[in-house]
Every structure is written in C-alpha cells, then in structure tokens.
C-alpha cells in the first residue's frame, strides 16, 4: 500500500515500532526493513526522491499491523 501524501513520517515510524511483525518499503529493486535503524535512515534519505517513493509501497508481514498504520496508508 502506498504512503499517503503529506504524512508525518516521524509519527509513521513511531507507528511501525508498535507493529508485531516486520514492515517493509518494497519496490521492484529494494526491500527496506523499516524496523531496522539503518534502514529507517535509508528510507528517510529516499523520501524526497519522488520516483523511488512512487515505485514502492508499504508491506506488513503481519496483516494485523496494517490496522496500526492505516492512518498513514492509502
């Protein structure tokens, strides 16, 4: 699922920390584990790259976690 435009990324990352399973930003070329500190930084570093952001979306390993993050996802 895509990230909503204009979402508060810091709140989104805080939301990820409450998820039971792993959460990824997935694109055709990358799979960024948003629970890992370094990967969170990597995700932050690509936020301003429209092409990269539009090519990917958020995936929760545990489907229940989508409910935690529904405020941030389209």
């Amino acid at each position: 699922m895509k990230l909503k435009k204009g979402v508060d990324i810091m709140e989104f990352i805080k939301g990820i920390k409450t998820c039971k399973g792993d959460v990824f930003f997935e694109s055709p070329e990358d799979k960024i584990d948003l629970k890992s500190a370094l990967s969170q930084y990597v995700f932050i570093s690509i936020l301003s790259n429209k092409k990269l952001m539009e090519s990917g979306g958020i995936h929760c390993e545990n489907p229940e976690d989508f409910r935690n993050l529904e405020a941030y996802l389209e």
Binding site: I32, A37, L38, S39, I44, S45, I46, L47, S48
Partner: protein, 429 residues
C-alpha cells in the same frame, strides 16, 4: 556576564565559526515547545529526522539531563551531536543549542557503506544515502570535546571541564576516558592515518577538488607527516610511499595502470629533486590533484565501464587470493573471453598484467613496512615461485625485491644518521 541577547548573538557567531572550520551544522530548539527554530545543517529535513528517530531529540529534553551542562548525543550508526542549554533572564532553560552531526572517524562512513552493500540495496538507494552521509563532517572525539567546551562558554559564559560533560550512552564515556589516558602521539597518528585514507578515497573517486576539500575540512592546515625535525631523506621516503599509495588508489579508481605508474614515477622523480620541505608540500598537493583529476577524467569520459571498474575493485579486494580468471568473470557476470577483451580495450593493459602490477604495488609496501621475506611475499601473492616474483618485480620496478628493500633501508639509515648528527651539533652549540 553576557546578557541573554548577547549570548544569542554569540551563538550565531559560533554557528558561523564552526561551519567555517569544519562544515559542522548547528541547530536551535525551543526548550518549552521542542520546536526547531533554525539550523545551518544541509539536508535539514533528513538530518532532523535522523536526530528525532534515533531518540536523541527526545533525550535532550528528558528530565534526567542536567541542563546546566553540555550533553553528548549519539545514534546507532555513529553520528554524534552536542546539546547545551541557553537560560533566559529568569534563570530558566529557554533554548537548546545543538552542534552536529559529526562522525568521529572515517570508519563510521565506511561501515555504513559496507552495510548498505551487504543489505543489497539498489544503486540509486545507496547513492541517495551515501550522498547525505558524505555531508557529515568527520571530527575526532577529542576535538568534539573542545567544540563542546566552546559551545558551553558561548551559551553560559562559563568554562566547562571534561567531567562536566554528560553522555547519552555510557559507551561515549568509556571512549572519553580512553582518550584521557591515550598518548597525544597515538591520537595524532590516528588522525594522520585518517587524513591519508580520506585523501586516497578522494583519489579513488576522482574527486577533482581533492586538495581544496581537504583544506576546507580543516585537516590540511599543515601536513602532519612533514616534520621539520626529520631529515629530508625521511620526509622524501614518506613522499615516495605516499606516491605509491596514490598510484594504487588511482588504479582502484579505474585509471589505467600504465598512466598511474607513469605519474608515480614522475612525482617520485620530483620528490628526489626537491631541496626543501615546502617544495615537498607543493609536490604533494600537485600530485594529489593530478591523480584525482586523471581518475575523474577517465570516469567522465566513460573510457572505463562499470563492469571493468567492478573487475578492478574485485581484484584489489582479493589480491591475496588465487584470483582465477574464471572467478573474476563470474563475479562481474561476463564470459572470460569477453571480459579479457573488454578489459584490455578500456584499461590498455591485459587483465593478467593488471593483477601482476597490483600485486607488485602491494609487494612494494610490504617490503617497506613489514619483515616478510621475499619468499613469503611471493607465496602470499601467488606468484608461483620466488624467481618468477623477482623477475616480474624487476621488470616493473627496475630492481629486485631484495635490492628495493635494501635501498629504502639505506635511505632511512642515512636519514637517522643525519638526524643524530644534527642533534649532536645542536647539543654542541
């Protein structure tokens, strides 16, 4: 005691000064609302999020922090900040001034690059992250202590002692106490090594602003390895070794080994002809610029494709392994026939000769800096036999490995004798 307004003004001046000194950013937050007022840091959005997501922002406002003292903050990837508190006229913390982020050593950036590679992120994603990380200046911890003390004086008018500093994580305190007992010599040697490695990395990248950037980063006001108390011979030996390292770095960056070698010989010749330390300094600067610029040209003209660059990188990383052509071809995803043709066309040298040249370069460093025998070096570099290694070495360098080692040893002994004679002469005076 300066007024609140004067301290604010001084803080602005201090921000300008540390940015000029080492491109370190500074930040200003409201203590009450935690709102960020301004920052001089580039990529402020990203770095603010790093600062926040790492927990550092939260920590500097936490009740366990004594707001009368500076606090060192750090995150899990090695970025460091220092925060200190500006009190208003009523004696309450009003603003939080933060300096950073910095990395305490080049190895932090390297570690991140290695991690990104091991996580198999795409080139674009890695590039994005590395471009941002490269904006973080490298400031050794002991210098960061000095900046922290300056920040504290700026916002409070008081002198901070080392025991006043607070640390978000105890590991920082351990590092601080290590430095308290570490010799100045060890710290300087580490700085020298870091400076050298930074220069070599800039050459590998073909960064044409190599010298200017080093000067701006404040690591280059005076070359640490030109010491006036050493003899000229020892300073020249240092330059010769450095020329070899630059040549190797340039080859790793994709420059043709022949061109890199020719440049190395050119600058070694100039070094031998130099008569003063300042001449050596000038030669060194020109050498760095020329190596970096040649690598830059070769990359920009796309004379060396990515696959050949990767091939060179693989070879440089595996010089002490057997390095079969089949393995190299498999690593870069080409057939042996196609790779050898492409390599020869772009680099102007056969792939097998490139491997030999690279091993000879490393052998030269080992001959100078280790006690390994010629046989040991030959074995570890898979030359097949000592005789063959000697033959290849002499073709490339002009002398046998043993003679090369003897020449350098004779030069250093001459240097020590000169220095002892100079010391004796001074005592006599």
């Amino acid at each position: 005691m300066a007024s609140y307004g004067e301290k604010l003004k001084n803080s602005n001046i201090f921000s300008g000064m540390i940015y000029s000194a080492c491109k370190m950013g500074s930040w200003c937050f409201s203590y009450a609302s935690r709102k960020m007022f301004y920052t001089t840091c580039p990529n402020q959005q990203e770095f603010f999020m790093f600062f926040s997501t790492s927990g550092c922002l939260e920590y500097m406002f936490s009740p366990e922090v004594d707001t009368s003292k500076p606090v060192f903050l750090s995150d899990t990837i090695g970025m460091l900040w220092v925060a200190d508190y500006l009190y208003d006229e009523d004696g309450r913390p009003n603003l939080v001034m933060v300096i950073g982020p910095v990395f305490s050593s080049e190895s932090s950036v390297r570690g991140i690059e290695d991690s990104l590679r091991s996580l198999n992120f795409s080139h674009q994603v890695r590039k994005n992250m590395i471009q941002i990380m490269q904006k973080v200046p490298i400031v050794p911890v002991d210098m960061m202590h000095q900046y922290a003390a300056m920040l504290h004086y700026t916002v409070t008018g008081e002198i901070a002692m080392a025991h006043d500093f607070q640390f978000q994580h105890s590991i920082q305190k351990d590092l601080e106490s290590e430095l308290t007992y570490a010799s100045v010599g060890r710290v300087n040697m580490e700085r020298q090594r870091m400076t050298e490695e930074t220069i070599l990395q800039m050459i590998r990248e073909g960064n044409p602003d190599c010298t200017r950037l080093m000067q701006e980063r404040g690591k280059f006001s005076r070359p640490d390895d030109y010491r006036l108390e050493l003899s000229q011979r020892e300073n020249k030996n240092t330059m010769v070794i450095f020329a070899a390292l630059c040549s190797r770095a340039a080859m790793e960056g994709g420059l043709s080994p022949k061109i890199a070698k020719d440049l190395e010989i050119k600058y070694i010749t100039k070094t031998e002809q130099a008569k003063t330390v300042t001449e050596l300094v000038n030669i060194r600067e020109k050498m760095m610029e020329e190596f970096a610029s040649r690598v830059h040209q070769c990359r920009n003209h796309l004379e060396v494709s990515r696959v050949v660059q990767e091939c060179c990188e693989y070879i440089q990383s595996n010089l002490l392994k057997p390095l079969e052509l089949s393995d190299i071809a498999k690593e870069v995803g080409y057939t042996e026939y196609y790779l050898t043709k492409k390599f020869n066309k772009e680099m102007g040298v056969r792939l097998l000769d490139y491997i030999k040249d690279s091993r000879v370069e490393l052998a030269k460093i080992w001959l100078l800096t280790t006690q390994k025998s010629v046989q040991e070096i030959s074995d570890q570099m898979y030359f097949g036999s000592r005789n063959y290694f000697t033959k290849v070495f002499r073709e490339k360098v002009g002398v046998t490995p043993a003679a090369y080692r003897e020449q350098m040893a004779a030069g250093q002994a001459m240097g020590k004798t000169e220095r002892n004679e100079e010391n004796e002469a001074e005592k006599g005076c």
